[in-house]
Each structure stands twice: as structure tokens, then as C-alpha cells.
């Protein structure tokens, strides 16, 4: 290839990569703000970011642009966030995998989930459900555990991948309930749900919201949910804790930035996000997606992230044995 065009590419690409030069912080935000999303476009987390970006754009008078940076269990996006300027113009839709699971799972993760970031606002959480196929003939957890104990190692369960929260949680469940299941890993939830419907796997651990249509149709029996309390979207399903298995899992979502963002900017963003979450449109949308909201200050959210990383550490270690 001619050197000239290689140079052109480099210049063009660099031009896209770098946002405008740093500006004075008088009235934040003065120029567009990037929100990194560690998922490819289209998933529910991506949609959350897009929805909020739009709300923030109209509230704060600057464009908030969603930038999808999927890869390596979300650590690509989180690493970029850590290395970004802490001027408030680079944010991220922070979530469970890169901040609570990855640091344990990949010891070479180049950041500390708490010290290297400013955790600005908690948005909400989605919970995990354990679903059984009607074909399995176990209508509740008690009969499932009985069956699993009678036939150790014969019941297959699906998760959305080795080291995914579904897998980590399933291993924790196996240990707590003293049962032995066989793990069938999938590349994400979609193909797993297809095989579940096709009766290839009789059990799966998956986020609750996307499975509601199957529950309503009678194609999936929710045995238990991983939330601390029962979910509004599945009011008749007990939590694991209720059933005597002391395990809770939340795939939380929040907005975070690099460490050391100016307190005023954090307040501006926190306020705008709190306002956005209270708007009817967003509240309704979050409810349909099964995202459980809760009010947290920036400090509370930071403590939450730290606690979440601690909770998951032993579970992740167990699952990667």
C-alpha cells in the first residue's frame, strides 16, 4: 500500500478517536460528552445508555454520545475509561461484569474497580432467574433439588458463558444446595434461550426480563430469582434467600467516570441523572425492561461498587476452579 494513504488513514482515524481539545470547566458541559458502553449496540444495557444519553442531552444542553466499545468482558471499555481525562467528558455505563467480576476472573485486569474511578450515579439492577423446562417435571425448587440429588451430574444447565454471572451464580447455587449439575456454556443469552425452548437444556440461569414471554406462555418455570426481595415482574417466584440458599446477584448499572472528576461536575451529572430516572418515560421504560431502580448518592454508589466486588470475589474464584 502506498505510504500516503496509510498516513491518511492514521490521520482520519486519529481525528475520530480524539474528541475536541480540553476546554475550561466554567459551565460543564461545554462540548459533547462520550458515554462508553461495554456492549455491542442493541442489547438492553445499550438501550439504557441511549435512552439516558438522550435525556441528558436535552437536560444539560450538550450532546451525550453513546460509544460502543465491547470486548474482553467489558474491560476494554473500563480500561479506556480509566485512562481518559477526568474532565467529565468521558463517562461509562458501568456494570457488574467489568467492575465486580473481571478483576477477580482476569488477574491482569489493569485497573482497580474502586480506586481508579469516580462512581457517579447508580441507575438500577437486573436480576437473575433460574428457569426449568416444564418437561423436567419439577414445578418448584424443592422438587428440583430432590431430583438433582437423586441423579447427580445428569441435569444440564445453560449459562451465557464460562465466567458469566449466570455461571458464577449457578456454581454458587450448586455449592449452597449441595447438588451437582452439568454446565453447558453458550455465547450469550440468545442462543441459550433457543436451546432451552428446543428442550436441548432443561435448566438455565439467565436475566429475568427477557424470559418473561416464555414464562407467560408456560414454556419456562421460574424456580427462584436472585434478588434480595421478590420482583414486581415475577411476584409469585421466591428468592433464593427465601428458600434458604443465601445467595444474591444483581447485574447493576451505573454511570462512572475516571478517578478524580471535579465534585461540581459529579453533582451536576448526579442531579441530572436522578431527575431523568424520575421522569415518567424513563421510569416506565425501566419497568418494562425489569430494571429495579433505587436512589443512591455518589458516595453510596461508590460503597456499593466496592461491596459488590467483595461479594463476587469468592464466587468467581469458586467458579473458575
Amino acid at each position: 500500500m502506498p505510504a500516503a494513504s496509510r498516513l491518511t488513514i492514521a490521520i482520519l482515524a486519529a481525528g475520530v478517536a480524539l474528541a475536541a481539545p480540553a476546554a475550561a470547566e466554567a459551565g460543564y458541559p461545554e462540548r459533547p460528552v462520550r458515554i462508553l458502553v461495554s456492549f455491542p449496540p442493541g442489547g438492553s444495557s445499550d438501550l439504557v445508555a441511549r435512552l439516558l444519553a438522550e435525556e441528558l442531552s436535552s437536560n444539560l444542553g450538550q450532546q451525550f454520545v453513546v460509544e460502543n466499545k465491547p470486548g474482553a468482558a467489558g474491560t476494554v471499555a473500563a480500561t479506556e475509561l480509566k485512562n481518559a481525562d477526568n474532565d467529565g467528558y468521558t463517562l461509562m455505563l458501568s456494570n457488574l461484569t467489568p467492575f465486580s467480576v473481571a478483576p477477580t476472573r482476569f488477574p491482569d485486569t489493569p485497573y482497580d474497580p474502586v480506586a481508579d474511578f469516580s462512581h457517579i450515579a447508580y441507575l438500577g439492577a437486573v436480576h437473575l432467574g433460574m428457569f426449568a423446562s416444564p418437561e423436567l417435571g419439577t414445578a418448584d425448587m424443592a422438587s428440583f433439588v430432590e431430583k438433582a440429588k437423586a441423579e447427580p451430574g445428569t441435569i444440564d444447565y445453560g449459562s451465557s458463558g464460562v465466567g458469566s454471572w449466570g455461571h458464577v451464580f449457578a456454581v454458587a447455587f450448586e455449592n449452597t444446595a449441595d447438588v451437582e449439575l452439568s454446565h453447558i456454556p453458550y455465547k450469550g443469552s440468545g442462543p441459550m434461550r433457543l436451546d432451552f425452548r428446543a428442550d436441548v437444556i432443561p435448566v438455565m440461569f439467565d436475566a429475568v426480563p427477557q424470559n418473561l414471554p416464555n414464562v407467560e406462555e408456560g414454556n419456562a418455570i421460574p424456580l427462584a430469582v436472585s434478588s434480595p426481595e421478590r420482583l414486581d415482574i415475577l411476584p409469585d417466584t421466591p428468592t433464593f434467600t427465601e428458600l434458604g440458599y443465601d445467595i444474591v446477584a444483581e447485574n447493576w448499572l451505573g454511570i462512572s467516570g475516571p478517578a478524580g472528576i471535579d465534585a461540581e461536575i459529579v453533582d451536576t451529572l448526579q442531579g441530572a441523572l436522578a431527575k431523568a430516572l424520575k421522569s415518567d418515560d424513563i421510569a416506565k421504560q425501566f419497568d418494562t425492561w425489569g430494571i429495579v431502580r433505587s436512589d443512591m448518592s455518589s458516595e453510596e454508589f461508590t460503597d456499593y461498587v466496592a461491596a459488590s466486588a467483595k461479594t463476587w470475589e469468592p464466587l468467581v474464584k469458586q467458579a473458575s476452579k
Binding site: P2, S5, T8, L12, E54, E67, N68, D156, P185, K284
Partner: protein, 502 residues
């Protein structure tokens, strides 16, 4: 069925839905024509716009963008030998030689017609069989999917014009490249050499654009691409010869059938459909000697197959709520933002949306035809741009396209590396299309193989006990043996001609 279609017709023909259907197909075609930007990029770009539209209209528009971009992708395949989408890499095999022979207009016209034919065929299949097709996807087990992938890979090796052995070698190289990254069964990384950016494997678009686009630019710099004859563009030059019309009908039908069938399988539909369709045609066609040298069937079959598949691919997405591809995941996203959850109840709960979309496909395909036939003249004129202007521009566009996917400079460098690889392979008469298909299908085949083995607790008989997988494995074996046997007619000579014309 008629009631449903009437309801769909009423929904699809509201002025705003018609308008957005047109906008979608129009923008889709233009984005799809740009090398490096395929349906995924096109749908992702327009997704935010769809938030402001009612759900039916949003889906009609995005679907238009999607198949518009699929169509646009084949334009770049024919004119520049750069497939806009993986499934149109098959179209390159005969479409590009046609363009080199000064018959780009004919190839584009036949692509438009074959796409329309395949699209309409797929729509009729959906209209008649939607609920049954959804059930069909549920009958298949991992062993069956493994066999489908295997057949796809065998078909891809057979597609090669430089001999089956070379085809098999390219497919295997593709499979190996595809195995880079995290192994889904163990969670361990393979063949990454400790490079973080390789943890998730190499991106499909990165490989495709490098192998085809960049290497094509390098070939042109080497002077291997002759300047095109700057003849006057006239209507008569777009029309195929009389015999070619008749020759195209049966292949279009076969392509549509194959496409409609494979489109219903989540995940793989179009690429498998176009390569199996092509391989099949190469076996049954009376003109098989011309394949790879600008046979009109070689354009008609993959285009009718992948457009039929593009339509039937909506069935698992909408009725099971399970996206077959990232593009389809975006469509589901567009519905979710409007509070519509795709799933088994979609057809009964939102009949206007479902049938409106199906009927809009019909209008969309019609728009594509009406839109593109007049544009053929303009596309062909593109070829008159001197290649020392055209190809650098193409490389810049590709680089931007690749960069835009994950905002990764690593991807751009990798793509340029694949350009070099593609260039070397071409110098030694290896074709990139089988490599690309091996790269796509190989990892999926491995995934299903290992899943089937996990489920059977290590018993390989599972592949022969299930009738579906047993039959498909049988077909693959027969296809491979048939092709490997020496062909009677002038095989060596044919190969040499191919090399010269490429």
C-alpha cells in the same frame, strides 16, 4: 392467510409507513454500497431515529435499511470485488469477472432482479408458513446445526475455482483464524499470543475488508487490474443476452428455495444459503464450466438465496425473540424501546406489526428494484474513475468503516495485515472467499460440535442417530467426494484461464 395479508397491506400502505420504507431502503442501499459499511453499520446508524417513530414504522424502516444494505453490498462485490456483507462474497466469484468483461451493467441488473425474485419468494414462504417455520427452528439440536455448518464449509471449498484442494486449504485456514480468542467451553484464550485485543477474536469485517478490499487495492497498484473500457453507458448494455434470461430462471428458483430454508436457521442463514446455493448450482448447472468466469447463474443464485434468507431470517427473530445476528439484535432493540417484546405471542398480540412488516418487505423490494435500475448507469460510471483515485479512496472508506465498528485502531492495522495476506494468497492463486466462509462458520461448527458432545457425554454417535444431522453429513461427504474426483473436461485448462482473468 388472506386476512393476515389484508391487515398487513393496510398497515404497510399508510403514507408514513410507505415513506419510511422508501427512506430505509434508499439509505440502506447507499450505506451498503460504501465498502466496509454493511447492514449492521447501517441499522446501527439509523436506530436512534427509529426511537421517534411508532413501532411498526420503526421496524419497517430498519428492515428496509437492512435489506437495502444487503443489496447495496452486492453492488460493491460486483464492481470492486469487495463484498459489502459476508454473504455477498459468493457474488464476487462471478459478479466481478462479469464487471471485468465490461458486463457490470448486466450483473447489476440481474442482481436487482434476482434479489427481487428471492425476496418475494421468501416473503411468500413467510406469509404461508410463519408459525410452522418458528416451530421448525425448535426441532433442531446442536448435532443438526453442526451438520449444517459442515455442509456449509464443504460447499465453500467446492465453490473455489482454483481446485478443491486449494478450496479446502483456504477453508481450513479460515477455521484456524476463527479459533483465535476465548474458547467458550473453557473460558481460556487460544492463539492470542497474550495480545489483549485478540481476546475476543478477530472481527469478521476486519478479515473481509482486508482480504477483499485492501488486497484488491494492492492488486490494482501492481497493475493487475486493467483500466476499464470507457464505453458509453447505454441501456442495451445492461440487458443480458436472450439466452441468459431463460438460463437464469431455474437457478433463481433453486437459489430462493435454498435461501428460504437456511434463512430460518438462527445465526447462519445468509452466508450458508449463498454458498450452498452456489455449490449446488455448480453441480447441477449445464454451464458449470463457466462458473468463476462470469457465469450469470453465479450471480443469480447467491443473490436470490441471500435475499430469500434475509426475509425468512425474521421468523426466528420475531417469533422466538431470539436474534440470529447482531443486526437482528438491533431490530429487537428497536422493538424493545417501544415496549414490544418479540416472542411467541408477537404474531397474535401485534398482528398489525408482524403482517405490516411482511407486506412492507414486498414494497421495500419493489422500491429497491425501482430505485436501483435507474442507478445502474451511475454505478457503472464509478468504474470509469481511474483506479489510482478510486482504490485509495476505497481503502480510506474501508478503514473508517472498520474503525467505526469497535473504535479500535488495532482493528485497522489487523485489516491492513489481512490485506497483505490476501495479496500474497492471490499471487499464489488462492481465493479469499472460502477462507472468509471458513472463518465465519468454523467457530460456529466447533461450538455446536462441542456442545453436542457435552450433551451426549462424549458419545460421537449422536451425529448419526439424528436423521437431520445424519443426512446432512451424508450430503457433505458425497459432495466432497464428487468434487474431489477428477473432472473429465479440460480441468487444467479451465483453471489456467481463471487465473488469468482474476
Amino acid at each position: 392467510m388472506l386476512d393476515n395479508l389484508a391487515l398487513g397491506y393496510a398497515t404497510a400502505t399508510t403514507p408514513s409507513n410507505l415513506f419510511y420504507c422508501f427512506v430505509g431502503t434508499f439509505l440502506g442501499t447507499f450505506i451498503g454500497v460504501l465498502p466496509g459499511l454493511g447492514p449492521l453499520a447501517a441499522v446501527a446508524m439509523l436506530l436512534p431515529v427509529s426511537f421517534y417513530l411508532p413501532p411498526e414504522t420503526a421496524l419497517v424502516m430498519l428492515a428496509g435499511v437492512y435489506y437495502g444494505a444487503e443489496y447495496g453490498g452486492s453492488i460493491a462485490s460486483i464492481l470492486l470485488n469487495i463484498p459489502g456483507t459476508p454473504s455477498s462474497s459468493i457474488t464476487c466469484i462471478d459478479g466481478y469477472p462479469m464487471a471485468r468483461q465490461g458486463r457490470a451493467g448486466v450483473a447489476l441488473l440481474m442482481t436487482a432482479l434476482a434479489s427481487f425474485f428471492g425476496g418475494v419468494f421468501g416473503i411468500l414462504v413467510i406469509a404461508g408458513l410463519a408459525p410452522a417455520l418458528a416451530e421448525f427452528a425448535l426441532l433442531l439440536q446442536p448435532a443438526d446445526y453442526f451438520a449444517v455448518m459442515l455442509l456449509g464449509l464443504v460447499a465453500a471449498s467446492v465453490v473455489s475455482n482454483s481446485g478443491t484442494l486449494r478450496g479446502v486449504m483456504m477453508v481450513c485456514l479460515g477455521v484456524l483464524l476463527g479459533s483465535i480468542g476465548v474458547d467458550i467451553n473453557s473460558g481460556e484464550t487460544r492463539f492470542t499470543g497474550g495480545v489483549q485485543d485478540l481476546r475476543d477474536g478477530i472481527g469478521l469485517v476486519v478479515v473481509a475488508m482486508g482480504l477483499f478490499g485492501v488486497s484488491e487495492a494492492m492488486m490494482s497498484a501492481r497493475g493487475a487490474t486493467p483500466s476499464y473500457a470507457t464505453e458509453k453507458v447505454s441501456w442495451s448494455r445492461f440487458l443480458p443476452e436472450t439466452g441468459e434470461w431463460l438460463r437464469s430462471l431455474a437457478p433463481a428458483l433453486r437459489g430462493s428455495l435454498v435461501g428460504s430454508f437456511f434463512g430460518t436457521l438462527p445465526g447462519t442463514g445468509q452466508t450458508v444459503a449463498s454458498s450452498i446455493g452456489y455449490a449446488l448450482e455448480k453441480r447441477v448447472s449445464r454451464n458449470r464450466d463457466q462458473f468463476g468466469k462470469g457465469a450469470i447463474e453465479g450471480v443469480v443464485v447467491p443473490e436470490s438465496a441471500n435475499n430469500a434468507a434475509a426475509q425468512t431470517a425474521f421468523i426466528p427473530t420475531l417469533t422466538l425473540g431470539i436474534p440470529g445476528s447482531t443486526t437482528m439484535a438491533l431490530m429487537i432493540g428497536a422493538l424493545m424501546i417501544h415496549g414490544v417484546t418479540p416472542g411467541p405471542r408477537l404474531i397474535s398480540e401485534h398482528p398489525a406489526l408482524f403482517w405490516g412488516l411482511i407486506v412492507s418487505f414486498l414494497f421495500g423490494n419493489l422500491f429497491l428494484l425501482v430505485l436501483n435500475i435507474p442507478l445502474i448507469g451511475i454505478w457503472v460510471k464509478l468504474l470509469q474513475i481511474p483506479h489510482y483515485f478510486l482504490y485509495p479512496a476505497v481503502v480510506v472508506l474501508i478503514s473508517i468503516g472498520v474503525y467505526s465498528i469497535d473504535h479500535s485502531l488495532f482493528d485497522v492495522w489487523t485489516m491492513l495485515g489481512f490485506g497483505l495476506l490476501g495479496y500474497i494468497l492471490r499471487l499464489y492463486r488462492f481465493e479469499p472467499a472460502p477462507l472468509l466462509i471458513g472463518f465465519i462458520l468454523g467457530p460456529m461448527m466447533e461450538e455446536y460440535l462441542r456442545r453436542a458432545m457435552l450433551l451426549s457425554r462424549g458419545d460421537p454417535l449422536v451425529f448419526f442417530e439424528r436423521p437431520g444431522s445424519a443426512i446432512l453429513i451424508g450430503i457433505s461427504a458425497v459432495l466432497l467426494v464428487l468434487t474431489a474426483l477428477p473432472r473429465r473436461r479440460r480441468k487444467v485448462q479451465a483453471n489456467e484461464e481463471v487465473v488469468e482473468s482474476r
